[in-house]
C-alpha cells in the first residue's frame, strides 16, 4: 500500500508539485488570516487549531514531502503570530504529521467521528509536546487551557473544517476524466 502511493507520487511528480503549490497558496492566506484574528481579536477565545486541522487533513489524505514542509511553515507562522517560542508549534505539527501519516496506513480518517477523534488526539499530542517544550524552556504554561480545552474545541470543529478544506481543494483541482475512468 505504501509502495503503491510512493511510486504513484514519483510518476506524477510535476503534477503533484503543482497541485501541492496550489494547495499551499490556498491554505497559507487562510492560515495567516486565522492566526491574525487569533492573535488580535480572539486572543482570549479557545478557537479550534486550524493549522493543526490542516496538517491532520494533509497527513491523513496522502502524506507527501510538501505536506511536511507545509506543516513546518504553518507551525512557524503560528509561533510567529502568537509570539511564542519559535519552533515549538513546528515541532508539534511535524510530530503530528508524522504520527497521522503512519497511522493513516492502518486507519481511515474518512468519517466525521474518526476525523473529530483524530484531530482531538492530534491536538492533545501537539498541546502536550508544546507544553513539555515550554516547560523545558522554563516558560509558564497551563495544561488544561493550553492542552485539554484546545484539544476538545479542535476535535469538535475538525469535521466541518476538513469538509470545507476538501471543498476548497476541489475548486483548484483539475478534472481528470481519464483518471476517473481508470
Amino acid at each position: 500500500m505504501l509502495k503503491f502511493h510512493t511510486e504513484s507520487a514519483v510518476e506524477d511528480r510535476p503534477l503533484h508539485i503543482k497541485q501541492a503549490m496550489k494547495e499551499f497558496l490556498l491554505f497559507l492566506p487562510l492560515t495567516i488570516i486565522y492566526l491574525a484574528l487569533k492573535s488580535t481579536l480572539f486572543a482570549a477565545f479557545p478557537l479550534p487549531d486550524i493549522p493543526l486541522i490542516m496538517v491532520f487533513y494533509l497527513a491523513s489524505r496522502k502524506a507527501s514531502t510538501e505536506g511536511a514542509i507545509f506543516a513546518f511553515i504553518l507551525g512557524y507562522l503560528d509561533d510567529a503570530f502568537s509570539g511564542g517560542v519559535i519552533g515549538t508549534s513546528s515541532f508539534a505539527l511535524l510530530v503530528i504529521f508524522l504520527s497521522v501519516h503512519l497511522l493513516s496506513m492502518v486507519v481511515q480518517f474518512t468519517t466525521p467521528a474518526a476525523r473529530a477523534g483524530g484531530a482531538a488526539a492530534a491536538a492533545l499530542v501537539k498541546g502536550a509536546a508544546s507544553y513539555y517544550v515550554l516547560r523545558y524552556s522554563n516558560v509558564d504554561a497551563y495544561f488544561f487551557t493550553h492542552v485539554v480545552l484546545q484539544a476538545l474545541v479542535t476535535g469538535f470543529f475538525a469535521p466541518p473544517v476538513i469538509s470545507a478544506l476538501q471543498w476548497l481543494v476541489l475548486l483548484v483541482t483539475p478534472r481528470k476524466f481519464k483518471d476517473n475512468e481508470s
Partner: protein, 283 residues
Amino acid sequence: MRSSERNIYSFLRKYQVIIISAALALFSLHLALTDKKEYARGYLLKEILSYTVTPVQGLILGVQDSITGAWNDYFFLIGVHEENESLKKTIYSLVEENRRLGEDARQNERLRALLEFKQSLPYGTTGASIIGFNIERWSRTVVLDKGSSDGIEKDQAAIAFGGIVGRIIEVSGGGSRVLLTTDLRSNIDVMIERSRVKGVVEGNGTDGLIMKYVRQVDEVQVGDQVITSGLSGIFPKGLIVGEVTRVEKSGDNFFKLVEVRPAVDLGRLEEVLVIRERSSYNE
C-alpha cells in the same frame, strides 16, 4: 556497490516523507531550544516574518478600531441626547451651586470685615443687610432688613467699613429706610480732619458730596479727609465722610466750593451697621 547505492536511494525515496518530517521536527526542536536560550541571535526567517506578520496584525487591529470607533461614535450615540440633557442640568446645577458658594464666601469675607469694624467701635451697633435700593436723582435711599423690633430707631446713624452711609428716616417693625449721604436732603455736620475747619456736607443728587459753608480764608485742599464733627447729634464724632476732591472759589466770593468723594462706595454696599447708643457720641 552499485546495488547498495540503489538500495540506499530506494530506501531514501521510500521513506522520504518520514525522513524529511523527522529532520524538520528535529530542526524545529533545535529552533525552540535555541530561540529561548539565544533570543537575541534571531533567524533570517524570523526577521522576515517580523516584517510580514506585524502589518497583518496591525491591519486586523486597525479594522477592529474602526469598527469599535464607528460603534462608539454613531450607534452608541442613540441614548446620548437624554444623557446630554441630564448632564446639562447637572452642569447648570453645579454652576449655580458654585456661584452661590462663591457668593457665600464673599459675603463671609465682608461680614468678617464688618464684624472686626464693629468690634473696633466704642459704641453699640446692630448689623443689617440692605434689601432694597432707591437710587434716583431726587431720592437716594436704601432699605434695611432690620426695624424697630431689632432696636432700630429714627435718626440713628448707619455706617459701614470705611465711613458713614446715612441716617435712618423711616422705621417699621421688620425694616427701615436709610437716607444716604448723597441724597439732596442729607445734611451732616463735618470738619476737615487736618485743619479742623467745619462745614456741612450735603448730597448733590449724584454719587458725590458738597461741603458747604467753608470760608475763603479757611484752609482746605484737595486730598483732605472729611470727618463727622458730632454736632448734629446723629453721627458720632470722627467718622470718615470722604475725601476732598475739588476746591474752588464760589460765585459769592465768600464761601469756597468744596467737592467731596464719599469714603464708602454706596452703590456696592450690601451690609451696614446702625449705631444704637447716642449717649456715647460726645466722648
